[in-house]
């Protein structure tokens, strides 16, 4: 059997973390290839349904990352996102998803190095957790 490679879905805010990811790419910093990045205009627009859909479609981990406090272009989208992540961390474990599979970070546009590190750490943690239950069966 080949080694388990997790699938991770990442929702990155256009103004900060996505820019940081770009920077990491152009600086040739390595980060795991199994992270699928989805660019959003602000973490405040990540409706819980996006995260739920990602998990039900087989994501092993979901990372939401936005601007640091005070830097959100829409003033407080990052704080609203934090409440939604908190909410999902309460709901998803009830259905058997380890709450560690869902993470929120705040990473500035110039933090390419930090982002690459975060992504490596997260991918490692998810790998250690093993495949999520959605890999195992038909989801209705």
């Amino acid at each position: 059997m080949s080694e388990f490679e997790p699938t991770i879905v990442a929702f990155f805010c256009n103004w900060c973390t996505y820019t940081a990811a770009d920077l990491a790419g152009t600086s040739r910093l390595s980060y795991p290839h199994n992270i699928r990045i989805i660019r959003v205009m602000c973490t405040g627009m990540v409706d819980p349904q996006y995260v739920i859909k990602a998990f039900l479609e087989g994501a092993d981990g979901v990372l939401v990352s936005g601007c640091r406090p005070g830097d959100c272009h829409y003033i407080n989208g990052n704080y609203k996102a934090r409440r939604r992540i908190k909410l999902l961390k309460e709901i998803l474990p009830q259905f058997g998803f380890d709450q560690q599979r869902l993470r929120l970070t705040w990473i500035g546009a110039s933090d390419g190095i930090h982002l690459a590190e975060i992504m490596r750490t997260f991918a490692g943690q998810i790998k250690a957790l093993g495949p999520s239950q959605t890999k195992l069966k038909m989801v209705i």
Binding site: P48, Q49, I52, K53, L56, P69, N76, Y79, K80, R82, R83, R84, I85, K86, L87, L88, K89, E90, I91, Q94, F95, G96, R103, L104, T105, W106, I118, T121, F122, Q125, Q133, T134, K137, M138, V139, I140
Partner: protein, 380 residues
């Protein structure tokens, strides 16, 4: 001082006394209409009616164990803009709590409505009710009243009350302007009428009812009922958690779901004017289904069943008042109330929120604090 009064019953009939009381309110200068559950003339069932003529209150029956819909939605229809007068609305405690949630969501207004609540005796599931009421609905309501007052608060004549009611720890409304008390009063003898706000006081003053003191037996009876209900509720939580704690079990739980979305239509607090699940976003192209099926080898049709339910939980469980209408509306008897209450209990607790408790608390997902939940940000 807030008014506490008493109405004596004639021939042990609480309905006649209530009908008279409602007529008295409707006759007041500043009340244009009353919203009250009434037995329909053609069919043996009870539905909300909007009445302006006091002579049309003869079938009012807020005690019947029939609960076909949560009238918070109706109250929101009637109050979302000024209607040109004040209305009095006779609602169950869970309807008032749902109404308060809708006011906070700006889908209803509290200004022109006087909330009246009767101690809730509980209700049956819709199907059970029709059998129970048989051909003489009014008579069955009085039997039901005596049964519950006699301490049988879970079943009657072999029929179980709705799960939502057996698990409901709010049988008495804290937010009604006027609360009509049954618990702790002598069955068949008298009922209590109590103002809980200035508005309620203002109304009762004009009715000149005989003053009384709330009997101490009342709070004791309510407390006993609440602790019984809380016990049932906690067992329900534990059982439900057990039967839904993996996707496998959730597949079992919802295997009969046909994605009809009745549950969200019946829910008073599923607040979107247009639910995303009935928009074009989910009107997928045929080729899309083929692609999904090809990727996985098999997909269940209709798709997105768990996606819908878990999303609904994320959207509205902080506002769930446990009224049970989702279960009532489901054609396939899926125990929705059990699951929604179980999750709602957790999601409301993390935000120290209680649906329907107070107009002053903002819905948790509409606000935030800068210094909260710091532990969930970052990856070590």
């Amino acid at each position: 001082m807030t008014i506490t009064a008493k109405i004596d019953l004639k021939e042990q009939n609480p309905l006649a006394a209530l009908q008279q009381f409602f007529a008295g309110i409707l006759k007041l200068e500043d009340i244009a209409a009353i919203l009250v559950p009434q037995r329909l003339p053609t069919k043996n069932t009870v539905m909300p009616t909007l009445v302006t003529d006091p002579s049309f209150l003869g079938d009012a029956d807020p005690l019947a164990p029939a609960f076909l819909m949560n009238a918070a939605r109706i109250s929101s229809r009637l109050t979302r803009k000024p209607m040109g007068g004040k209305i009095a609305a006779v609602l169950r405690p869970c309807e008032i709590r749902a109404f308060i949630e809708l006011v906070k969501l700006k889908q209803a207004r509290r200004e022109d409505i006087i909330l009246i609540s009767v101690d809730c005796l509980g209700a049956f599931q819709n199907k059970v009710y029709s059998k129970f009421a048989g051909q003489n609905g009014t008579e069955s309501t009085i039997r039901f009243y005596k049964n519950v007052m006699g301490g049988n608060t879970n079943e009657m004549e072999g029929a179980e009350f709705a799960t939502a009611c057996k698990a409901c720890e709010y049988p008495v409304s804290a937010n009604a302007d006027i609360q009509i008390g049954l618990y702790g009063m002598k069955t068949g003898e008298s009922i209590l009428v109590k103002a809980q706000t200035e508005t309620g006081d203002h109304i009762l003053k004009q009715l000149n009812l005989p003053d009384t003191n709330e009997p101490p037996a009342r709070q004791a009876a309510i407390n006993a009922l609440i602790s019984q209900r809380t016990g049932y509720r906690d067992e329900m939580f534990a059982k439900t958690r057990e039967s839904s704690d993996s996707l496998d079990k959730m597949t079992d739980y919802f295997s009969n779901c046909v994605n009809c979305y009745n549950c969200r239509v019946a829910c008073p607090v599923c607040y979107c004017r247009e639910c995303v699940f009935v928009t074009d976003v989910f009107n997928h192209d045929p080729y899309q289904y083929l692609q999904w099926a090809t990727r996985k080898g098999i997909i269940k049709m209709p798709t997105d069943t768990l996606f819908y339910h878990i999303t609904r939980l994320a959207h509205m469980s902080t506002a769930c008042v446990g009224c049970g209408q989702c279960s009532n509306a489901c054609p396939n008897e899926i125990p929705l109330t059990e699951l929604f209450r179980t999750i709602a209990d957790k999601t409301q607790k993390i935000f120290e929120y209680e649906a329907g408790r107070s107009l002053d608390e903002k819905p948790p997902l509409s606000e935030f604090r800068e210094d909260e939940f710091k532990e969930i940000v970052g990856i070590e």
